[in-house]
């Protein structure tokens, strides 16, 4: 039965070594701890602080990612229950609650030892919690709250995100870049104080170069997915995204793996090979993180000809920028990270849409990837990623005549996701996709 499910999605071969980077990172962190080396816990920070950690040779673990690991291995529930007992409200981010349960177990019950049941080696106690305001308030409130259990300092990376029209006021863009560069300079100085070592600026420049190149190739792979049939399903995207998104592994090695993936995807296009093993009847956009605990639904949907051709903007790399004239690696980081967040603002402003990140790029993706419908995963405990879902539904329908299906669920708490509800709604939604496809043709 399991084998039959998997055959519906035509998985790329090149994603395996990229996915393996996650396990490799956790394994390395355990080895590092055993060797007396420091570990950092970080929030996903959109290539803002990570390149600096990489250049300083620091092993980084992402508790958000670990939340997904705990969810997919089924251990999360006990950590969530523990978080509830600790007094954290149950409406908070599922990843954060998983982490509170984990840390409370590790620090209160086990004196700092990794809990034996922790999957893939667990998260050893860090020397720094690298937080950021990018994405959500939880990213700094969560690490601040860990102070209840661990005497570990928290550093917040504070990135400015202006309004869509305010970005184009005189001096705003340059001011934001200057602020980010100064912010990063302070962060480097802090790390030097914390670790007692100096930054190797040449190594930072080389790391930044590798990351930019890796993200450029990863971006190009995703551009290839505009082809019909789409050669790469979202399952492959999610499996392959961590070396870029979390910088799992060595960026130079990952760059080569992404190049391999590029060639595989390109060769599929040349040979008209699809990302699903059935006829591509519907091209879909997926919004927000998938239900990690129920990924099997995509196989069943693929059987019906649903090809997921593009996903949330938030997990894609920044659009490539020409930074060849800039020498300072910190300015490279600043411009690239700021561009990730604001790179679509100009187009959004032109269309009178002030939700210039998240929602606007998703509308653009839906157009550029010729989507017939959108599967919008409303994550109940991650409001920051899915607050735009009804708005996006509205824009897709009223501006682009693309129907969406909103499904409520969660990234960790499987009790909040009802797969049977998805299947009940498939047929009417397919009808809707067909209807609007014709409508779009008529108005073209």
């Amino acid at each position: 039965m399991e084998k039959e499910k998997r055959r519906n999605i035509n998985r790329l071969k090149s994603f395996y070594p990229l996915r393996a980077k996650i396990d490799e990172t956790y394994k390395k962190s355990i080895e590092n701890i055993k060797a007396g080396k420091p570990i950092i816990w970080a929030m996903i920070n959109c290539w803002f602080g990570d390149p600096i950690l990489k250049a300083m040779g620091l092993e980084t673990i992402y508790p958000e990612n670990y939340g997904a690991v705990c969810a997919s291995t089924g251990i999360a529930e006990s950590y969530l229950n523990r978080s509830d007992r600790e007094g954290f409200p149950s409406h908070l981010c599922g990843y954060a609650r998983n982490c509170f349960g984990y840390v409370s177990t590790m620090m209160t019950d086990l004196g700092g030892e990794v809990p034996p049941e922790a999957p893939i080696g667990g998260m050893p106690k860090p020397i720094l919690l690298l937080s950021s305001n990018i994405g959500c308030d939880a990213r700094y409130k969560w690490f601040q709250a860990l102070g209840r259990y661990m005497d570990v300092p928290v550093w917040v990376l504070d990135m400015p995100v202006p309004g869509v029209k305010e970005l184009f006021m005189d001096g705003v863009y340059d001011r934001c870049i200057k602020l980010i560069v100064n912010e990063l300079r302070e962060f480097v100085a802090f790390l030097e104080r914390l670790l007692g070592v100096k930054m190797d600026w040449d190594r930072l420049a080389a790391t930044v170069h590798d990351i930019e190149e890796m993200n450029r190739v990863w971006h190009e792979i995703n551009e290839l997915r505009k082809a019909r049939p789409c050669p790469m399903h979202s399952r492959d995207f999610w499996s392959a995204m961590t070396p870029s998104l979390f910088l799992a592994g060595n960026p130079r090695e990952s760059l080569q793996l992404y190049r391999d993936m590029f060639h595989e995807v390109k060769s599929r296009i040349d040979n008209k090979i699809s990302g699903i093993n059935t006829e591509e009847k519907f091209r879909l956009l997926f919004s927000e993180l998938p239900p990690w605990h129920s990924l099997g639904i995509f196989d069943k949907l693929a059987e019906r000809g649903w090809n997921f051709v593009i996903e949330s903007w938030s997990y894609h790399p920044p659009q490539p920028l020409d930074l060849s004239g800039i020498a300072d690696p910190l300015e490279h980081i600043a411009r690239s990270a700021f561009h990730f967040k604001t790179g679509y603002f100009k187009d959004a402003l032109g269309e009178g849409d002030y939700y210039g990140y998240t929602s606007y790029p998703m509308q653009k993706f839906a157009k550029d990837y010729q989507c017939d419908g959108a599967f919008l995963h409303q994550i109940l405990t991650c409001r920051s990623t899915s607050n735009h879902v009804p708005y996006l539904w509205d824009r897709l329908m009223h501006k682009l005549k693309i129907p969406s299906m909103i499904v409520e669920g969660d990234i960790v708490d499987l009790r909040l996701f009802d797969a049977s509800d998805v299947f009940k709604r498939i047929e009417p939604f397919e009808e809707s996709m067909r209807y609007y496809k014709n409508k779009r043709k008529e108005s073209a």
């Binding site: 600790e86 007094g87 954290f88 409200p89 409406h91 908070l92 981010c93 937080s131 305001n133 959500c136 308030d137 939880a138 700094y140 409130k141 969560w142 601040q144 709250a145 102070g147 209840r148 661990m150 005497d151 570990v152 300092p153 928290v154 550093w155 917040v156 504070d158 400015p160 995100v161 202006p162 309004g163 869509v164 305010e166 006021m169 705003v172 001011r175 602020l179 100064n182 912010e183 302070e186 802090f190 104080r193 914390l194 009178g352 849409d353 002030y354 939700y355 210039g356 929602s359 409303q378 109940l380 409001r383 920051s384 899915s386 607050n387 735009h388 879902v389 009804p390 708005y391 509205d394």
Partner: protein, 393 residues
């Protein structure tokens, strides 16, 4: 018309029909700009003869209009405000200033601007950290707001007018503190419910008019022959926005007094003055980032950057609450937050730890920003107060 009464009665009237107040101001030809949170630099608006109008949600009405653009599992306050706006209740506003105080506010600002489109909208980003570099960044943001507002108002901001506006808003802060001073006695001269209504009313009035109303209210309170009854316990209420006084009434009807609060609709916007000895924009930025107390800002113990000390951290973040409990002789604390408020939600176990250290009992309540939702908490509130009664007697 809302102008037939005076003092506390007038405040209550305005509070109960703030939309009418807005319409009347509009009919007088005033320019009104709405804001959602006390982080908006209201002084800049007042200095340009624009009325800053605090917009509230409603705990009575369902937020059905917001369903089109916002999920149900989302800050119910913001949902309510957007819903009211989409149903035309805030049509008297000439514009809105949105400040990045939290995710919900930040994201909704972007949606609001796209779908509600008032004539003037400005989005002001705000740092999370409070150091000098980020104060300067906020100063620039406030200056950008000044520029767009000047262009909207069609006039330039005169530095002396900004200074004067800060002075007048500081007077308002001083008057509100005087009002809270009258809850220090036992029994207090004014109830928690009355204070909430008065602050709610004042935040919808031109600042001078609000100050005038506060002066009359204070005189009335000081001349009172009969004060609210002495309760058996003195309660501090902490947390997010409370639009209707249901929870306060619930506590006060159970024979306790709400003597002080640390909420967005209470003390938070009034307990520190803006420094008039600094450059006004620097002073505003410092006030917003350093002085205002809200969990949205990242604060920690100073000189603590390479090793965390939880107790020192709690003291740096919540030390002002110790002052509150001592000055107002607090017997118990009710921590409340609307569901889906991450800033307050993450804070709960930590602020509870702080009150535990002070040996002051506390209770956490979560609600959905509806009157019914709050009423459903009555049994828990009464049980908590009973527990305090048992400890006190």
């Amino acid at each position: 018309m809302l102008k037939g009464t005076e003092g506390i009665a007038r405040a209550r009237e305005i509070y109960q029909d703030r939309f009418q107040m807005g319409k009347e101001l509009k009919a007088e030809g005033k320019t009104i700009v709405g804001y959602l949170c006390f982080y908006a630099p209201v002084e800049v608006m007042s200095a340009l003869d624009i009325i800053p109008f605090k917009i509230f949600g409603s705990m009575k009405e369902r937020s059905t209009k917001a369903d089109r653009f916002l999920p149900r599992a989302f800050c119910p306050i913001i949902r309510s405000v957007l819903s009211l706006s989409l149903s035309g209740k805030y049509d008297f506003l000439d514009g809105m200033v949105m400040v990045h105080t939290c995710d919900a506010m930040e994201r909704t600002s972007r949606i609001w601007e796209s779908v509600a489109s008032p004539p003037y909208v400005h989005y002001m980003d705000m740092p999370t950290k409070i150091d000098k570099m980020h104060q300067e960044a906020l100063r620039e943001e406030i200056d950008d707001f000044r520029k767009t507002l000047e262009s909207f108002a069609g006039k330039e901001l005169q530095p002396q007018k900004l200074r004067k506006a800060i002075e007048t808003h500081n007077q308002q802060r001083h008057l509100v503190r005087r009002l809270y001073g009258h809850t220090k006695s036992a029994p207090p001269l004014i109830s928690g419910k009355e204070i909430m209504e008065i602050i709610g009313a004042v935040s919808c009035l031109p600042v001078e008019e609000g100050n005038e109303l506060l002066r009359k209210v204070i005189t009335e309170v000081e001349e009172r022959k009969k004060s609210p009854e002495k309760g058996f316990a003195r309660i501090l209420v902490w947390g997010s926005v409370l639009e209707a006084p249901v929870l306060i009434e619930m506590i006060e009807n159970a024979e306790a007094n709400v003597v002080i609060d640390d909420t967005c609709t209470g003390t938070r916007g009034y307990f520190t003055d803006i420094n008039l000895n600094k450059n006004p924009l620097d002073a505003l930025a410092y006030y917003c980032l350093v002085d205002l107390k809200c969990p949205r800002t990242f604060k920690e113990a100073p000189n603590n950057d390479v090793r965390k000390d939880y107790q020192a951290d709690l003291e740096a973040r919540f030390g002002y609450l110790k002052d509150f409990t001592r000055e107002w002789k607090v017997d118990g604390v009710i921590l409340q937050s609307v569901k889906y408020c991450d800033c307050h939600g993450f804070e709960v176990p930590q602020v509870k730890d702080y009150f535990d250290n002070l040996k002051i009992p506390s209770l956490y309540l979560e609600h959905d920003f509806t009157e019914q939702g709050l009423r459903a908490l009555k049994t828990r509130v009464e049980a908590f107060l009973e527990m305090i009664r048992g400890e006190l007697y």
